[in-house]
Every structure is written in C-alpha cells, then in structure tokens.
Symmetry: C2
Subunit: 255 residues, 2 copies
C-alpha cells in the first residue's frame, strides 16, 4: 500500500512491499500477480521473492507464493521481548477477569493496527486465534485512539482522507462526523464504538502513552452490544483509561 518511491534503500523497501502484498492477499499469489500489485517489474519481483523465500519469509506453492514460516519465529521473538506486551499482559488478564469482557492490546503499524495480545473474558470460547490480525485504524474504538490521541495528527486532514466511511451497522460517516468523532476522542482521552467495525460488538479503548507522550499502543475492552448498553455512563471507559495509563507509566520511554 505504501509506496516509498524515494531513493534510499529502495530494494529493501521494495522487498517489504512485496511481503506486505503477500500478507494482504491472504491467498497464494503468482509471480505475475505480485508484480502487478506492487507495480514492480517482473524480474525485480522475482529476485525479491527469491530472497524472501530463501530467508523463509515467503513460501512457494503449487499455486503461488504466500507468507513464510520465518515470520512466525520472528513473531515469537517479538512476543517474547516486546516491553509493552509483557507489561500489559497481567493487566489484560485483570481487566478480562474483572469485567468478563475481552481485553485487547493493539499497536500501530503504518496505517493499520495489529492485535498483539488478547485475553478473552468469559463465556463464549474463542475458536480462532486472531492474534496478529491487521485491522484498519478508523472504524473501531481501539483504532481511533491512534489517530485522535497523537498530537502530531492533523484530525481534519485525516478525517478528509478517511471519509466517507461505512460502519458495520450501515451508517455512513462523512467528513464532519469523522472529524467530530476524532476530536471527541482526543479531548476525552478514550474512545467508544458501538457496532462500528463488528456488528453487535461494543468497545471502549484508551491510548497507552509513554512519558515522552508517544503512543505505544491501544488498550481495548469489548463485548456484545446487548450487554453494554450503558457504556457511556459506566465506569468502563475510565477504568480502561486508567489501566492504559498504568501500562504506559511502566514502559521505559523510547529515547
């Protein structure tokens, strides 16, 4: 998606561009497809996927290339070493136990968020392991937080980029609605979403900020909309906000 068409480290950037397409496709891609999607010359694409494959980040199959197993081991290393994740873990458990809801930890990667860790709250068992899932920044409480709570972000421009957005309940948000939403999140320091990204799911989220003011992640708490009719007036948002602050204060600042 991102096309860093600048000079420096071009081939490396392109390698990750290819990898990103493999990840995005969620199905095997033929070399030609890859070349088309990335906009690179076939020969170039070929050399890049060969390197990716050699290192295990891509795999070749009968019907094309997919992401490779090396990503799994790198992900494992990340999970074992990420300070935010390690610090947040017990707090996720605490939140999930206390509320019976699902506690989730996201970090931002470029223009999306990635689910880093999750503790399911109670009843309904979890069938799929969505950890590692990549989601958009806008619809969804935990995503909005990244946009709204980053002082660097120009909310107006961002809203313009995003709009119009269609939510899971069918609502369509225009520029002004998105902007108002983001501004609201920014001033309140937390976000609430009702049936935004997933129908019948309500969530509240708050930013995890280090002492230097950088956003390290987003802490979300979600459950069935039916069970959360009174989120706005409940203590949940401030609970989440407090928990997020607790995490942030324990993570040493990046520099």
């Amino acid at each position: 998606m991102t096309k860093p068409q600048q000079n420096p480290m071009r081939s490396v950037h392109r390698a990750f561009q290819v990898l990103s397409e493999l990840e995005l496709a969620q199905r095997p891609l033929r070399l030609t497809d890859l070349a088309q999607r990335t906009g690179l010359h076939i020969a170039t694409t070929q050399r890049l996927v060969n390197v990716l494959t050699e290192h295990g980040y891509a795999s070749r199959h009968s019907n094309g290339y997919t992401a490779g197993p090396a990503a799994l081991s790198t992900a494992h290393a990340f999970a074992m070493t990420s300070p935010v994740r390690l610090i947040a873990r017990p707090i996720l458990e605490e939140l999930a136990n206390a509320t019976g809801l699902t506690a989730s930890l996201y970090v931002r990667v470029q223009n999306s968020r990635v689910l880093i860790d999750r503790v399911e709250g109670g009843r309904r068992p979890q069938y799929s392991l969505p950890i590692g899932e990549r989601l958009p920044l806008y619809p969804g409480a935990a995503g909005k937080v990244f946009l709204a709570c980053d002082p660097e972000t120009d909310l107006d421009a961002t809203a313009a980029d995003l709009a119009p957005v269609t939510l899971a309940d069918g609502t369509v948000l225009e520029h002004s609605a998105v902007l108002a939403d983001l501004q609201d999140v920014r001033t309140r320091g937390f976000a609430i979403s009702v049936n935004e990204r997933q129908f019948d799911t309500t969530a509240t989220a708050a930013p995890i900020v280090d002492s230097a003011g950088r956003i390290l992640g987003s802490l979300g708490l979600s459950g069935a909309t039916a069970e959360l009719r009174d989120v706005e007036s409940s203590a949940l948002p401030s609970d989440v906000r407090r928990a997020a602050q607790a995490i942030g204060s324990r993570v040493p600042p990046a520099n």
Copy 2:
C-alpha cells in the same frame, strides 16, 4: 548466522541478516551490538534497521531494538494460508486425541525448524505458547527427519558438521554416532528421540513429503519419557509415519 556475501540483492539479504539477529538475541540490541553481530558497518546497520522499523519488523525501545509487530501480522497471514498447516491441522487433533500425546508440526527454515502448529494431548495444560519457536535441526526427533530424509543431504558431511553434540541427558554423540542415527532414520523413514533435546521427553517423528519427494515438514508426537518406555516396539512410529504420508499426499506439489 548465514552470510550471503554475494553480490545480488545484497542490501535485502543484509536486512534479513539484521532481522535474524534481532530474532536470535531474544532481547533488545543496541545499534552497535547489531553492527557487531552482523559484521556490517554501523551506518549500514542503521539504515537497514530504520527501514525495518519503518515497516514494523523492528521496534525501538529505550535499551535497543527488538523484532517488531509486523512480524505478527505476517505470521498470522502465514498461518491462515499455509497449505501444509491447514491440511495438517485436523490430523494433529486426531493424533493428539487418539494418543493423549502432543502433536507438533514443524517446517524447516534454513538451518533450523520452526514450530508451525501444535495440539496438546491431554492432562498437563500448556502454559506458554511455543508456536513460532525456532529449534535446531539436530537434537530431537522432528528435527532429524529434515536432515535424514532429504536425499540431497550428505549424511556424513552433516554429521561431521554437527558432532560433537550434547544431549539433554548428558550423552555426548560423536561423528559416528550421529551418522549412524541419521542413517537409521533415513532407512526407517521415521525418527525416535528419548531425552534428546528436552529431558524427560520422548518423541517420534516422520517427514511430510510431497509427491515430488520434497520435504514439506515434520510431524512429531511427544510425551513424557516415563509414559513412552516402549515406543520402539509400539505402533506409534508407524502411526505417525502414516499420518505424515496422509498429509503429504494431500498437499499439491510445489511445482
């Protein structure tokens, strides 16, 4: 570890070299450390790790760099699309249910194996999620299979590279012992390990081979040594072998 110091795609190779060190270290590394470990110039290392960070495959913290969250989402994509994994899943469950043991699926990445999927058998609950763990090829049943069952591999040279090896029970294997072991695995078509990599763990494993004879992975079944005193004479090895063949026969050949 691998140093592809050839000309083509040098910078991309180096990028993965850096990433590999980050993964291996399992702790934050400072830029200088990274440069030393990879043998690259500091300036070069810096540019590479910046690109990695920009794409989310590395993260910067107060005390150095670690692997980054993008690896998680790529890993997720891999898990959702890998044919071997998808095909093997039900068979892992079946094996684990039938035997009460732990069924594991590994694939090879360069000179190591990565745990792709696992179904725990019965009693003892699993505390850590070791999926993604990177292990050596030699000690351990599931690893040996990759070396022994690949007709391309020169067992004698491989044994020479490996020896001497110290097992978890303290045994030290010299060249001849390793060679004999590998040859045995090759002729029998499955491997057995007792207290080799983990003390008090016994395992048996067989290669997953596609119709073209390429090794796609390794299927292992493991449990406490005490419960598996009679593996050699039991039906387990051939059960595993049969299951591995079943998987292999359902995966379309790579080309």
